[in-house]
Assembly symmetry: C2
Homo-oligomer: 336 residues x 2
Amino acid sequence: MAIRLQDIADDLNLSKMTISKVLRGQTDVSAETKARVLKRMKELNYRPNISARGLRTGQTYSVGMVVPTLADPAIAQMVRGMNEVFRPASYSLVISSVDGDAELEEREAELHLSRQVDALIVCPRSDASDAPQVLKTTTVPVIYAGSTPPRFAGLSVGLREAEVGQLAAEHLLERRCKRIAYLRGPRTAVADKRFAGFLEALRNAGVTVRQEWIAETQSSEAEYRSGFAAMKRLQAGKMRPDGVVAYTDLLAAGARDAALSGRMEIPRTLQVIGCGNVIEVCETQVSLTSVDLAREELGRRVARMALKRIEEKGETSQRSATLSPRVVQRESTRAS
Amino acid sequence: MAIRLQDIADDLNLSKMTISKVLRGQTDVSAETKARVLKRMKELNYRPNISARGLRTGQTYSVGMVVPTLADPAIAQMVRGMNEVFRPASYSLVISSVDGDAELEEREAELHLSRQVDALIVCPRSDASDAPQVLKTTTVPVIYAGSTPPRFAGLSVGLREAEVGQLAAEHLLERRCKRIAYLRGPRTAVADKRFAGFLEALRNAGVTVRQEWIAETQSSEAEYRSGFAAMKRLQAGKMRPDGVVAYTDLLAAGARDAALSGRMEIPRTLQVIGCGNVIEVCETQVSLTSVDLAREELGRRVARMALKRIEEKGETSQRSATLSPRVVQRESTRAS
DNA sequence: ATGAAAGCGCTAACAC
DNA sequence: GTGTTAGCGCTTTCAT
């Protein structure tokens, strides 16, 4: 077995209490003793048993996180933001990925609670209509990251999704686009909100929305191809769009490449804007203007909220927060 | 506080031992009692405290994993493979991302040990020359995933990196390429091995390697642009390559797009092959042939190795394993 | 400044 | 089939 407090105590003819005090930086230990203890700890490669400590104190300094998938740059960004806050506070983030499986999400959330996390962060699956059951029966703080499922009355940090569509539309309108197409993406709550924002911006600008320019795209697989195909279809119509808003950067990239492979020039005859601001995708070819979804900031906010809720044990002085997206301009739209 | 075994025991006028037995599926409990207990557990939303159990049994059923970054599709694939093995065995994978920081890697590994993981999996940073110090002073099984750092004498599951370069070269040679360029990527051990394999394949085929076709590319940032620029340079030379092997898919994509934007046709006048088989990157434009790095299988193997090592407590009947890559053909190279 | 006792929630080993 | 005792490694509380 590994080295324990007791071993060090025996070794130094002290009680384990004294060792424990040194370990936790208590001040009522003589400097000399403290030095001896620390030295021996190093030598023996002592590592405190966090489970045991947690059992005693009721705090594990770990925060659970449930995400639909790890293969999503947005998640990686959020996690980076969270760690920025958690690490300095000595908390660890324990992530589990559930591959979009609702049942697994339930099980993993439960597992986290069993492991005594101090808080639980949930990134809802895109099609989630409800929070996992477990979360309703726990006193552990739960925070939603990205959006709150409709029937969950808890804390969350979200993004003004409607603004995403709105900003994208306004960006193109400011650049004199008159015929703006939209690549719709999946039929999820998030996608619907972005689309609604897009429509509203056009309406506010007095620009008509033509049904034929609202392009349905395939499911999340093969997004690029889906965007490519949709753009080809749009180009085949008699009225060609002079601007495209796409639900994701990959859709936008597909649309861009379809346009380039046709007769279009970007941004001269067609301007394109995506969502996500995923650099690996945006910084290609004629680079893509994109709506940044503030994932890192979102991660930071969620983490800070979690820490606060952990501290205040019970009374909840807190409110959910919502962030705004912003446009990052690149070559696929004009400068002014 | 949460519900404990004791609460259920009190509730049902049983000893907590009986409850514990039901919890763990022991058979020496009457069917009737068992049913009552299970029912009450459900009702009260009882969740066993895994820390406490771990403290007692010395097993936490969690496996730590340290990765250089989460924003890497290869990692996501490995994790999927691991979970495929771990979940059915009731183990959880606890991942921490260290953003390529050696010191952080050390700290996170230590943290995992403090949290009493049953095994530790490490994905070495690309520039790692040595394993974290902590790992030398622990009895917990440690397994390297992807490659073993030079000075670490432990278990690992790796990939025959030289074969990656070799397969790529052979793929192009079989397709009648005579003038094969190579986009080299960063100066890491892995990149060097792939390059060595590439050189060997050419030598075996009696094809000369021209220095001017070995293109240095920028650091990992902006890979696409780097590949694009490198290809432009190659095209500007008097002897133009008729085939390109790139260290990553993103480099390959950049090279492909540079070629397409010039006078080249792919695969007719230029054939391109990348490494990584990242679908989001490969399935674009003229889709990219790529060397698949068997990440999911690697994850599975690592996980199985971890479970075995956990079981056999001490004696180590095991040897490291090495997997082979394989080529996935797409449009950027010819059919035959 | 140091230490003894008790107990966090659970389970192994053994009675009954 | 059920219960008792002891203890995993640590910290809290209170003596000394």
